[in-house]
Amino acid sequence: TSFTKKPLTPQPRPSVNATNGGGNSQGDSSYLLPGATVATLLMLGALHARRMYDDKKTEEMRAKGIEVEFQPDAKEIPVWLRPHVYRAWARAFHSNLEEAALPLEEYISLKEFFARALKEGSRPINADPQCLVSPVDGTILRFGELKGAGAMIEQVKGFSYPVFNLLGASSLLPTTADSNVQEEHSESITTTEKSKKSWWRVSLASPKVWDPTSSRAKRGLFYCVIYLSPGDYHRIHSPADWNILVRRHFSGHLYPVNERATRTIRNLYIENERVILEGVWQEGFMALAAVGATNIGSIELFIEPELQTNKPTKKSLRSELPEEQIYDCEGVGRVLKKGDELGAFNMG
């Protein structure tokens, strides 16, 4: 990788009794120029030439009286380049391009491609009335039943976090066994909201004592953690027919949530920015937590388009209280059918 013209004739081996001080003749010394240096010089030259061309163009436009507007960063990918960029992304992250709703040329930026919709019928919804469906594409990380006072969700072996820390202290989570635990958590709720929420809590709570003769079902609390990799389809759908009553937004940090991070960052899911939706379905309480990650921090809700997440805020060490939005407190909230689109993870 050197740019030099080496002499073709073999160099005479220096003899021990040579008269000119022992070194061979310096006349044909080669001047070594490593390839990387040449590439850097070429790149700097190209950038300088482009800068001169842009300046000349600006001068000409100014001479014609056309005011130069501010050009946003080149987030838009040139049309001819789009298929190549998205195919490279699909190859790197194992995305299935066949399912994309639009031709690749129509996604003007990677951000738009990232939150793409799928062709009609790409995700048939299981119609069994006694089943809960997955709200997203991804990999099942953890699932199980939440029992006992702390109701801990296992992050990885050795790391667990209380479900109240994930959903928020004012969560409607019905834990009849620990109603006192819930009371102390709900101190932060104002009295008016308390009356609203206590109605919800009463309507959600499973029976205090299970009467075997009663026809009411005894209910347990379950959880499931699903990880979306960068190449997955990133829209969020409704796991069942349910009414969403409350939305809570924690503007936390944005750590990665890949496997290595879940093993090394304790309490990862209760540090990261996240949006919690809570409501009721036919079997009682339901909550869906959309947890952001590095550079995928903005979570968009189609049921509340005005919600802005991943805003640059001062990152105080103490996690702030969440920003809460009650949907229509007559207990109806936002009604969604199983499989309805309710939100998306956006890049950036």
């Binding site: 299981n126 069994d128 469906v133 099942i140 699932f143 609390l221």
Partner: protein, 46 residues
Amino acid sequence: STVVLVFQAPISKLLQEGDSSQEFNFNVKCGDRIRVGEALGRWHSS
């Protein structure tokens, strides 16, 4: 990104006229790939 689902579901139900019971069971395993609309779990009368 990650989605965490927390929900109530029947764990057992003794019907008055018989002894059948309903309980929720996951039909996935850790590490499974899953797609939107596929069943995470179901409860059934047995």
